[in-house]
Amino acid sequence: MKVIVLDGHPRQEELADYVSDALSAAQSERLEEHLLDCPRCAARLQEAASFQLLLHEAAESLESDRRAPPSRLRRVGRRLGAVGGLWGAAAAFALVLMRPPTDDTEPVPVVTLADDPSPERSDDRRWSGECDPTDIGCAEALLASVDPLESVDPLSSWPDDPLVRSVFDSEPSLEPCGSGEDGGMLVCPVDDDPFSG
């Protein structure tokens, strides 16, 4: 590349090549000689140098953007996506569990919740609806009927717990009569009337 000089002054491209170190040693020397005697071109060189620094900054900001971890918004989006995926997987797993066996030799029994023989599912309030559990509408209705507070509080249903119930069934003279200081169940004799004596 030759240094093209117009009206005795180097063109903008030559100054840009100079600051980019794209000129040969001889070309750079020639340009520098001119710059020593020409304040106007020295000012133009300053402008070219500023622009060159700007390009370096832009390239570095581009590189740092590519290296930077994803933004907070993207992270939240990914987390929500992951949670959504988990919920989807859980729903699919629940549907697979509730699906009746697909044996061609036997008729597929439609298990209704009301027919469920397990004692834990004898609560009519919750399981009264008859529907096919493989039906997504039924599954959603069931999920909606679950009281989340009750499901996470193990003490909320202690009088109906089968184990506790069996104790009272074997000892009919006892009945639950409140909670102790530690939150545990208190059992009192049935005929122990505090107001009797």
């Binding site: 600051v19 794209a22 700007l54 581009l62």
Partner: protein, 193 residues
């Protein structure tokens, strides 16, 4: 009571100091980044000849400090540019120390400070404009630009080899990008310094 001083224990080696390492290819580094250091000074208004002297001084200082093991995190060319900038400011302080005591000059210095803040804001704005042009460019053009002006600071010939393009094509891409950037900066309401 005077106590005979115990023999001084040999000084424990400073674990924070790195072992003197001279594995840095300084000649190659100076060839690759030398012009950028000079350009950084010229952009600050330092005359070219003085900028070359200060840049040379900055390189020598950084090399010397590194050989003594005082520099643990060697970042080039940033460290040399920072050192050269410091030397340039120190140079300016020495020259203007006497006149800085004058009240009019102090007022001028305050004005310079406000102008400096304006310059910084303007520089950020210009960077945003240039980045927007760069972000709109093709991925290929962005790669070329990044290799030329980024951390690796390759020459057009090196970029051409790396990306399998001709040197002429590399130059053409960069020329077009710079042209667009200049045009974006020079849009009405914007003025390139």
């Amino acid at each position: 009571m005077w106590v005979w001083p115990a023999e001084a224990e040999p000084e424990a080696p400073d674990a924070t100091r790195a072992e003197p390492v001279d594995e840095v290819p300084w000649d190659d580094m100076m060839r690759r980044h030398g012009r950028r250091v000079v350009v950084a000074l010229v952009a600050q208004g330092v005359p070219l000849e003085r900028a070359k002297e200060l840049a040379q001084d900055a390189w020598l200082r950084v090399i010397d400090r590194h050989r003594r093991g005082h520099i643990t995190d060697l970042q080039l060319p940033g460290l040399v540019i920072a050192q050269a900038g410091f030397l340039a400011r120190d140079d300016m302080r020495r020259r203007d120390r006497r006149s800085r005591l004058d009240e009019p000059h102090r007022q001028a210095a305050a004005n310079d400070l406000s102008l400096d803040l304006e310059d910084q804001l303007d520089a950020r704005q210009r960077l945003r404009v240039v980045r927007s042009v760069l972000d709109r460019a093709s991925p290929n053009a962005q790669r070329v630009f990044g290799l030329l002006y980024g951390e690796r600071a390759m020459s057009p010939a090196e970029v051409a080899t790396e990306l399998g393009l001709s040197v002429q094509r590399v130059r053409q891409i960069v020329c077009e990008l710079r042209k667009r950037m200049r045009a974006a900066i020079a849009e009405p309401g914007r003025k390139l310094r």
